[in-house]
């Protein structure tokens, strides 16, 4: 018989799935805004390796000449993004779920184990737990990135009224660069996250939808037959 065990509480699932379309709208509208002034590149010794973004990218995603549209959507959905983030963080704290998510002292060493394990360079199984150490870093990190997106966003939205914040973040243009860098960070997170979810399989994915996962039955033969373990 399958055994079902609760994994992801409903508030976490609601927040997670609401965040998917909302962040997508924020990224899309953000790109509409960025298009209007798109100076960022990655250069090594003066050679441009990556230009954010090449013309074909804007054309393919229809991102040209939409500054007013982008601002209208961005400043509407930013509320949903921020409120959802507060709801998620508040629930983590209230429920104690944060303990499964935030890295611990052991996580540094274990995260390296996870990386080697995923690259198939190390065979021994990962320590049990809801999230492995690499997941703890990634998920805690992406929550902090979300908070960073809100804070850098406020700094470039109100650089006069919140001048202290803008100055603290290195000035108007640097805060804008940070805000953009976080978008690239979200893109990288999503790419790795999707690959890992695909690799982890159905049981793991279903848990984020239905809330439960199927767990192996207890080892009845050994435990039931032997004497009760001393306490």
């Amino acid at each position: 018989m399958p055994r079902l065990a609760a994994k992801h509480p409903l508030p976490i699932r609601i927040s997670h799935w609401l965040n998917v379309p909302v962040t997508a709208v924020m990224a899309w509208s953000g790109l509409l805004i960025y298009w209007a002034y798109d100076p960022y590149t990655i250069q090594v010794f003066g050679v441009v390796l990556v230009k954010f973004f090449p013309d074909w990218f804007y054309r393919a995603l229809d991102l040209e000449s939409g500054l007013a549209t982008g601002m209208a959507y961005h400043f509407a959905f930013a509320w949903v993004f921020a409120v959802n983030g507060l709801f998620y963080a508040g629930y983590l704290v209230w429920s104690g779920e944060w303990r499964a998510l935030v890295p611990t002292r052991r996580s540094f060493r274990e995260a390296w184990h996870v990386v080697l394990h995923d690259l198939k360079l190390r065979k021994d199984p990962l320590p049990p737990g809801k999230f492995n150490a690499a997941q703890r870093f990634a998920y805690t990190g992406v929550v902090l990135m979300g908070a960073g997106a809100v804070v850098t966003g406020l700094a470039i939205l109100k650089p006069t009224q919140l001048a202290w914040l803008t100055t603290m973040l290195g000035g108007y243009q640097f805060a804008r660069l940070l805000h953009f860098a976080l978008l690239i960070g979200f893109g990288l997170f999503v790419a790795v996250h999707l690959a890992q979810v695909a690799k982890a399989g159905w049981n793991n994915f279903r848990a984020m939808v239905a809330g439960f996962e199927v767990v192996p039955p207890p080892k009845e033969t050994a435990d039931a037959a032997g004497p009760a373990a001393p306490r």
Binding site: M1, P2, R3, L4, A5, A6, P9, W17, P21, I33, Y34, A36, Y37, L67, A68, T69, M71, A72, Y73, F75, A76, W79, W94, S95, G96, L157, K158, P159, T160, Q161, L162, A163, T166, T167, Y172, Q173, R176, R206, V209, A210, G211, F212, V214, V215, P217
Partner: protein
Amino acid sequence: MPPDPPPPVDVTPADARRRSRRAFAVWAAAGLAGLGGWKWLRSRDADDDIPWPLRQVHRFNERVGRTLFSPTHLAPEFPPADAREPKVNGRHGRPAEGAGPAAVRVDQPGHAARTFAPADMIAGLPRVEMTTELKRIEGWSQVVTWGGVRFADFAASLGTDAARHPFVGLGTADGVYDVGLDTPSAMHPQTLLCDRMNGESLPEPHGGPLRLVTAVKYGIKNIKWVGRISFRDDRPEDYWASRGYDWYAGL
């Protein structure tokens, strides 16, 4: 603290499938509802070029922005040595080459229209110089040294309590370009009627003889070639707000 999660339960494979199907159906319905909401939003009638619910959010954000606003919140100032010439961007309402507006017309309800030569209307008022970052709505910015008089001082010099009206409209003489300001932003100490830039007379392409410069709004509100000023009780027309942008555009 919430209750502890229920302990694992034994179920038949059919039961597990049924629970799983039900959960996916609920989330699929939620997804469809979200998609429906998105289609609804995208298809709303435009209010000044954007769907009206988004215009309403701009208005809501304006109320939040006005709450946050204070005349004591100042944009940072920079060393004058950092100042450069900004790119010439806005050309709307630019007068024929070399012919700046000869007069600025000032309107206020209950008062006869007054006209001033641009130089006369700021003569005798306290001179202010500030080196601030001009922020174009596209995201580009430039540190510039501006010289002129505070708009608040000009309004007070009229002697007609002009600042009691909640809005100020400014326009070019030909009426091609106009901006609307809320009066608190117009009276902010870093809102200037400006006739000098980077230590010289304000060049004509940058709005000479007289332009508005304000550190509490994007560049689109920093109108060049000011030809009309009206203190008013209704929300003034605004060139870019009628083309999809936020009317408030406050920094």
